[in-house]
Assembly symmetry: C2
Homo-oligomer: 124 residues x 2
DNA sequence: ATATGATATTATTATATGCTCATACAATCA
DNA sequence: TGATTGTATGAGCATATAATAATATCATAT
């Protein structure tokens, strides 16, 4: 993936724990990545009020079954949602509510940025 | 992009503002997307202590100049960093410190998840 | 055992993304 | 002006991602 990079060090001569750092950055990036999809965000939004079956999510989002299932799998793999099988149905629910804090923070940022832009445009 | 979807409505019959919603979700997704890159996260991390030139960031991260410049542009386009030109140099700095709150939240989530996994593996 | 319905997975295709080299651009200096 | 240096950008390749149709799996009912 990244083929560059060699061991940058801190001033003291102590080597920066870049190997470790790389892994952490990769994990963080993956987490952000799973949230970087409108359909997945829509699914999460639907799940705010509680668990839902795949079929219900298909209906609620207007997506295709395969696609919804796929995105749910991605969210599940990242531990964002959990799955509960009951008979024929698969109930998905939010596993990590911090997700919504994330979204709110982003919305705040966006709002701030758009407001600033508004002001910039309107104010001259 | 998403070609599906038709106007899902709330129970009351009032049409859900899906058009609006879609745009918001798109924006939020874009914001997450720009953070879903190890190199960009690395750049942001470097910028924690204050503004830096492209060259300094190239050195600090071990990336190629073109690549670093590109990622900085992406961050700039999203309003995450700002640019200040001084002579030949371009100084980049964090524009939206909320970014770090985001990263912290993600780290918390990841830590919680990994801990849980540890426990699951160790305890069973 | 067979049929049915809900969910998951596979294969395919289209699109997006990231990286690199080469080059263009801008500011400074000789 | 031309040379130099720092930064940005275009083209091309390799890879990743997403959407779809088709198919497989699983649970249940008959």
């Amino acid at each position: 993936m990244t083929s560059e990079r060699r061991g940058a060090r801190t001033e003291g001569g102590r080597p920066a724990p870049r190997e470790f750092d790389d892994q952490v950055l990769e994990l963080v990036a993956e987490r952000f990545q799973v949230l970087a999809e409108p359909m997945r965000l829509r699914l999460l939004n639907q799940l705010r009020d509680g668990e839902m079956t795949v079929g219900a999510l298909v209906e609620a989002t207007g997506g295709r079954q395969a696609n919804v299932s796929r995105h749910l799998s991605a969210l599940f793999a990242q531990g964002v949602v959990s799955r509960r099988k009951e008979g024929v149905f698969a109930y998905y629910r939010i596993q990590d509510p911090k997700i919504f804090d994330l979204c709110e923070l982003v919305c705040d940022s966006l709002h701030a940025r758009l407001s600033a832009r508004q002001r910039a445009l309107g104010g001259g």
